[in-house]
Symmetry: C2
Amino acid sequence: MSVTVITYDRDMARWEPGARERLERAAMELFVERGYEQATVTEIAGRAGLTQRTFFRYFADKREVLFSGGPALQELMVTAVAAAPQSAAAIDAVGAALAVAGDLIQQRRDYSRQRQAIIAAHPELQERELIKLATLAAAIGGALRGRGVTEPAASLAAEAGVAVFRIAIERWHEQENRQRDLPDLIRDSLDQLRAVTGGR
Amino acid sequence: MSVTVITYDRDMARWEPGARERLERAAMELFVERGYEQATVTEIAGRAGLTQRTFFRYFADKREVLFSGGPALQELMVTAVAAAPQSAAAIDAVGAALAVAGDLIQQRRDYSRQRQAIIAAHPELQERELIKLATLAAAIGGALRGRGVTEPAASLAAEAGVAVFRIAIERWHEQENRQRDLPDLIRDSLDQLRAVTGGR
């Protein structure tokens, strides 16, 4: 079974180098040019110089192109939580994960901004975003439990961290001049959460 | 236009006293007895002694029966945020809203437990729950801004509060013996959030 899978991946890699990235780029170009609803899978594949069939090897549907980075980001964040110093408090382990994610997304600023605008305009994409963020929070909560953090502290720290992440990304995109970068806004939002919750 | 609406509401009230509550009760009975998927709108209406047409006056679809309490709960919580003493910190105004919601849900413990079990078993219901909770957080954030709380503190306090609310309800339902009531678990979860985020 695993041999079959490996062969299949090799074939894909040989036939279509960088297919996933080409499809993502083509999709975003078309979403921006023609609007998310208007762009079809056939057009996206055509723009990427690939077939519709290849598109569906990588993505279940058109929506999923906008969420394809999610699993890798989640894995990075879970790894960062696990790798934080054993002495780190739960919220600081979460902060380390947010910092890693912030660095990565900062490098794809224009893509992130375009993606955010499309999601904001489509309720069904907002739903999927909420589900992905809930999954991310659950994964981070699991990683905290793996560090020995008990419930409900693990879930609370994870949910609060994901709220900070989401709100920091919104602040980042809302800036007129982009004077502050995402890692900075994540740190600031986490500090503000501390101030808000600890402030009495 | 508003005259028409008022007449319509009056007619409904005269024709079907307590129709909404009867439909909710009938729906939950059927969901528990036969499973959520199997129960049809026709059966729910029949069990409540009403017509399918009456059902659709109150609810857009079968799913919506499980979320019909949401808008009233949200309004109560928003009112509680606005009514908190002017000197109260943002998180304490949110805590007041959670306390009001906790008291109300505590009185419908069995309904809440059955509802939670059905939602947990159906991804499409979890999606709707996530959307409703995101809407609730946005409304609470708006109420905090109405008190003069600035962003991102308002959104952070609101999101953190809704996370506390959700996690406290989960803890409440997970208890073997129900030894702690929901308002108590909400207070405790809020304290644990403070400890988690303020703990350095």
